[in-house]
């Protein structure tokens, strides 16, 4: 029992911060994010030793966290989950960052989600495919579309006065 608890706590220390950051980025409600974090690790505890045998426990945990947050989205009012990145005004030293922030906010959800999982969570294509339960080719395709759109957006801003 103590060994399993140690294993679970080790998993929590290693991957908890990433899962919490992921959930806080998705949820506007901090308390909801904290609750979802605990729920995610409840599911990890239910897995027992099986989770240690996974190739990527972090991808598994983020997949669970994502599903739980989607369930919360269905149960509660949609405004409690951050479907869009926070749009609070930030004074950026580089004006291109503002452009990029707006361009990211305009991306369709499937493209933005893949981009976030790659750049923020630093998951590989295979791990993103595991989280989103889609083929790796679809992950690549969505990421390419996202990057193309962001690039075009920056180029348009450069051209326009």
């Amino acid at each position: 029992m103590d060994q399993r608890q140690d294993s679970l706590e080790g998993l929590y220390r290693r991957h908890g911060p990433a899962v919490l950051a992921y959930l806080r980025a998705r949820c506007r409600d901090r308390q909801a994010a904290d609750d979802l974090l605990q729920d995610t690790f409840v599911q990890a505890a239910d897995q027992g030793e099986g989770i240690a045998a996974l190739r990527s426990p972090r991808a598994w945990l983020i997949a669970v966290a994502r599903n739980l947050s989607l369930m919360l989205l269905r149960r509660r009012r949609p405004v409690e989950l951050a479907d869009d990145p926070p749009s609070r005004p930030q004074v950026a030293a580089d004006p291109r960052l503002d452009q990029m922030r707006q361009a990211v906010a305009r991306l369709p959800e499937p493209f933005r989600e893949v981009l976030e999982l790659r750049l923020r969570e630093e998951l590989s294509y295979g791990q993103i495919a595991q989280v989103l339960e889609i083929p790796v080719g679809t992950v690549r395709s969505r990421l390419h579309h996202a990057v193309q759109r962001l690039r075009e957006s920056l180029l348009t801003r450069r051209v326009s006065p």
Binding site: Q5, A21, A45, D46, M100, L119, R140
Partner: protein, 170 residues
């Protein structure tokens, strides 16, 4: 140049996303030194990815709340223990039923007296049954009184371990 522009662009995006194997990345970098147009595209894509990463990057690590989860018991042991509980309950119930059954005192029953009436002729019964739903019977109610048998016998059975005794009645 043999590679298609679309294919090259996909490679460049994968490269900017850090998703290429190191040896493939090195080959691509070597290619870009000979293809200035592709190198310009690669530069734009890298800039795009860098900016997106800065926008999406976490501001600072959040303090982690304490873990409030305990690991679950192994399922196999849980099933075994549950089975044992069920077995113990069943055994206790069986023993309790035995104890109650021992304490129940059945009062001795009086001797059973079986009186066999003299059988009426079966042919008459059949005839009566077949002629029951007749207009005559429907409109003329039958008399329920039965004639007393000519002679009666009595069966007296005092104990299940003794054969019944048949006595005639005058």
């Amino acid at each position: 140049m043999n590679v298609k522009p679309e294919t090259l662009e996909r490679l460049l995006i994968d490269h900017a996303a850090g998703a290429l194997e190191p040896d493939v990345g090195e080959l691509l970098d070597a290619w870009l030194t000979h293809d200035p147009q592709a190198a310009a595209t690669a530069s734009e894509l890298r800039e795009t990815m860098d900016l997106a990463q800065q926008v999406l990057r976490r501001k600072r690590p959040e303090p982690l709340p304490p873990l409030q989860v305990r690991p679950a018991q192994p399922r196999r042991r849980w099933r075994l223990s549950r089975l044992l509980v069920h077995a113990a309950c069943a055994a206790a119930g069986f023993l309790a039923a035995l104890a109650v059954a021992d304490k129940v005192v059945v009062p001795p029953s009086p001797p059973v007296r079986i009186v066999r009436l003299a059988a009426e002729p079966p042919a008459r019964e059949v005839a009566a049954a077949s002629s029951f739903w007749t207009m005559e019977n429907l409109y003329q109610p039958r008399s329920h009184s039965r004639s007393a048998p000519a002679n009666r016998t009595r069966v007296i059975w005092t104990s299940p371990v003794k054969p019944p005794e048949i006595r005639g009645e005058p």
